[in-house]
């Protein structure tokens, strides 16, 4: 045996390598598929419950919900359970009370906050054409400062917040804006919390961004949504 071959490590033949890797990949694939199949029903159910709970929180009168999407052309489409909204359209939830009458519309909004994107679910009341409240879906704002948006009485007094479509039904009549603490003069302005201006601004922007497109698009369909179908 020569010195050179002594130092060379033994190499595995390519075929053997591919065979082994294939086997391992197959084992892993089977495990993953089994886990996915096994948990699918429970995950979907969990997601449905989470959405329902969030909507019931922002529309307290609601007892049942239906998912809809409205496209950029203004067409309304009812979504089945777990169905994703078509691209370009906005998903929203219609909450119905005990008598199956429309209690409010809930939609998601997102905007950059202090630490990360703040995702909220806000409720829009078609009868009053105003945003009645909001709940947080996900945020990483500083505890004790940014999360005051959920408890600060003065901030919560911003709602109902006017959000009615403009006359030409393209945008909101008035843009929803967050203003400096204490300088709110119009019903469509959000009075920021002193010391938590950035988070307050994110809430205003999140509501505005979604409402700007959703509210005008919804206007022609409100009659259709009145009763639960």
């Amino acid at each position: 045996m020569s010195h050179a071959t002594d130092l060379l490590p033994e190499t595995t033949p390519t075929a053997a390598m591919i065979r082994t890797l294939g086997l391992i990949a197959m084992i892993c694939g089977v495990i993953i598929v089994a886990a996915y199949q096994g948990t699918y029903a429970a995950v979907q159910e969990n997601k449905r419950i989470a959405v329902e709970r969030a909507v019931f929180k922002v529309i307290p009168r609601a007892k049942s919900i239906a998912e809809y999407a409205v496209s950029s052309a203004g067409e309304l489409k009812k979504l089945g359970a777990g169905e994703a909204a078509p691209t370009g359209s906005i998903k929203f939830y219609a909450g119905y009370d005990e008598a199956a009458r429309l209690a409010g519309i809930a939609a998601e909004g997102a905007a950059k906050g202090y630490a990360d994107t703040v995702r909220i679910l806000f409720a829009w009341d078609p009868a009053a054409a105003s945003v009645t409240g909001f709940g947080v879906v996900a945020m990483r704002e500083t505890p004790g400062i940014g999360d005051k948006i959920l408890v600060d009485a003065e901030f919560l007094a911003n709602f109902p917040l006017e959000a009615k479509p403009s006359d030409d039904r393209l945008v909101l009549a008035h843009e929803i804006r967050t203003v400096k603490h204490g300088s709110k003069t119009n019903p469509w302005e959000v009075d920021a919390i002193a010391g938590a201006t950035i988070t307050s601004r994110a809430i205003g922007k999140a509501i505005n961004d979604t409402a700007q497109t959703l509210v005008p698009r919804l206007a022609p369909h409100l009659d259709k949504l009145k009763e639960k179908s």
Binding site: C28, V43, T142, P143
Partner: protein
């Protein structure tokens, strides 16, 4: 396989080679998710599950896995079990899933698991490998819990969601922020180092006499 060897394998991760306090591995989840006891516990359990399963599988296949591609193979195996854990946590509780966030997927790159697979499971039969993995997992969970409980008690006045001090509690905001994780980890490391030193001093004194 003797009882003693198994016990030794098991205890290695819990005390002598504790992943958090001795090896200081897997700091990313340790510092990031330990804002509450329940987060710490579920992260620990998830990691333990991945650790046991992947060490078991790696150990089973240890003679088959070509050494040229072993790291890639380990990662595939680990990623598989992380995906399983990801689904299971979603099925159990979405709230928990949201709280742990990206750190579930990041278990893949937790160096404890790859480290155990490479340094231990790839050279050991399945039974002791899994016992060792269980010990490591429990050691990691204990480490996370030690951080999580302190941070939850001071940061929110609760322990596993149960209020300890009543409504008037003043939360220490810093404890639920990232610096709090460093403070608490540092304090625990200091305590363990002090205990270790004290033990060695005692041993030295005994030897001297």
């Amino acid at each position: 396989m003797s009882q003693a060897r198994n016990w030794d394998e098991f205890m290695e991760g819990i005390w002598r080679q504790n992943p958090v306090f001795v090896m200081v591995l897997g700091m990313c989840p340790t510092l990031a998710v330990t804002v509450s006891g329940i987060n710490a516990l579920s992260m620990g359990v998830a990691t333990t599950f991945v650790l046991i399963c992947s060490c078991g599988l790696v150990s089973l296949l240890r003679k088959l896995i070509p050494k040229e591609v072993r790291i890639a193979t380990y990662i595939v195996i680990i990623a598989t079990f992380v995906t399983v854990v990801d689904y299971v946590i979603q099925a159990v509780s979405l709230a928990l899933y949201d709280a742990l966030g990206a750190f579930i997927q990041l278990i893949v790159v937790n160096c404890i698991i790859l480290g155990r697979a490479e340094a231990h499971a790839s050279k050991t039969p399945p039974a002791p490998a899994m016992v060792n993995a269980l010990g490591m997992g429990i050691g990691f969970t204990i480490g996370l819990l030690a951080l999580g409980c302190v941070r939850e008690i001071l940061g929110a006045g609760t322990l596993f969601g149960i209020s300890l001090f009543g409504a008037g509690f003043q939360p220490w905001v810093v404890m639920v922020l990232p610096p709090g994780g460093f403070f608490v980890l540092g304090a625990w490391l200091l305590l363990f180092a002090a205990l270790e030193r004290r033990k060695q001093r005692k041993l030295a004194e005994v030897r001297h006499v």
